[in-house]
Subunit: 246 residues, 2 copies
């Protein structure tokens, strides 16, 4: 068997997320179809994790194995990009050892969530930013973010805790808030994320920024380990899978 | 009569340019329809200049006059944005003196042309950049750009010199080339531009960057005052109307 690793960027706007599903246009299905053409065999692609409908990736990672070898591996990236829609781009395609697993070998993942905090959304960013018209309180958001950093049970910040069978404890190495002009960037780095966890963290932080939640309440919500309606799931279009570290 | 000035941003990707045309979806027509709703009369919008199919605007300027006054002028921007598609945004809507004319009062215009100079185009930029895979020679491009700056007859750099009846002489105050990472930015500032002039300048500079034209040849082409096939019109998606100065 031949093993390969892919690094992908995609604009999630018009996709029903990563995972192949009957009757839906997904990232996985598009890339698997291109691989099937080039390798002349059905090929299953394994990502570092799923991304939801409308979520983007700057650098998603994936691996696959094939019976057939690609005759010119240094041309694999270009051949895949020639077959794929321009909303999905292969940044890197390289042979890899069999032991590499895009999901299980990952030691850290980084997501970024972008918010346009101004009256008028630039039309070029409409698919890539959450729009918050009212000015958000950065100090309050930073105070809340600091309370969420570290090793915690994040059951209160996932849409479906039972989907993750083993544990809802994660190490959130970083949750930071920065601003440049009208653009606010949330940066979340962890050993792994629960289902819709980043969008829940972002949703909570935006409510804090709006003054609808106090930073101290985030600690109580975290400790409750119960999902509450006070933590909304922020819209998908602001979210980017930024980097996976192995 | 009541007079207003609008500053607009738009994503030109899905529009047949600025100018209203029967059977085409244009920026002008969309904004005029929104104005007709708010002012309860047919309203003609005058821009600083047309932009072509697929060209974007960071800050287009326009004016219009209406018999009816808008009862709450400070809410005009928001009311227009509520009616417009999110690919067209009003950044500013203010009452203005009758003497203001978006086209004739303009003293300077700035366009920027963006090139992604790397093997793989990021999917998020696909509608906003020209893609040049081969590395462009920046020094050669800068040398060519310098030769084009100043007051010249730019007949060799317009798609249709007869469209501009009076004169093809323009004052090109600035034509500069800068690069950050894989992104090249061309900045063109002039008292006015001929039809497809910026895209012709960009097309010529890209050919120089590829080594297909020498910087010195740009001087000869300029002096010939004749359009030649050696100057291609660069694709519209890299072009942004950046700023109009009054």
């Amino acid at each position: 068997m031949n093993h390969y690793r892919l690094t992908l960027s995609y604009d999630g706007t018009d996709y029903a997320g990563w995972q192949a599903q009957a009757g839906e246009n997904t990232i996985q299905q598009n890339v698997e179809e291109a691989l099937a053409v080039l390798f002349r065999e059905p090929t299953r692609l394994h990502a570092s994790g799923r991304t939801d409908r409308g979520v983007h990736a700057r650098a998603q990672e994936a691996h696959f194995s094939a019976e057939n070898a690609f005759p010119r591996p240094q041309k694999l990236r270009r051949a895949l990009n020639a077959l794929l829609p321009d909303t999905i781009r292969i940044q890197r395609a390289v042979p890899v050892e069999e032991s590499f697993h895009a999901r299980f070998s990952a030691i850290r993942k980084e997501y970024r969530y972008f918010i346009w905090n101004g009256e008028v959304m630039p039309p070029f960013l409409r698919n890539y930013r959450l729009h918050a018209r009212r000015k958000l309180n950065l100090d309050a958001m930073r105070s809340a973010a600091e309370r969420l950093q570290g090793t915690h049970d994040f059951a209160a910040f996932t849409a479906n805790p039972k989907r993750d069978v083993s544990s809802t404890v994660r190490i959130l190495n970083e949750l930071s808030v920065s601003k440049k002009g009208n653009e606010i960037q949330l940066r979340a780095v962890a050993n792994g994320f629960l289902y819709k966890m980043v969008r829940s963290l972002a949703g909570g932080l935006v409510r804090v920024g709006l003054g609808e939640l106090k930073p101290e309440e985030m600690t109580r919500i975290l400790e409750s380990r119960e999902r509450t309606a006070r933590i909304p799931t922020a819209l998908p279009q602001g979210l980017f899978l930024w980097k996976v570290t192995y």
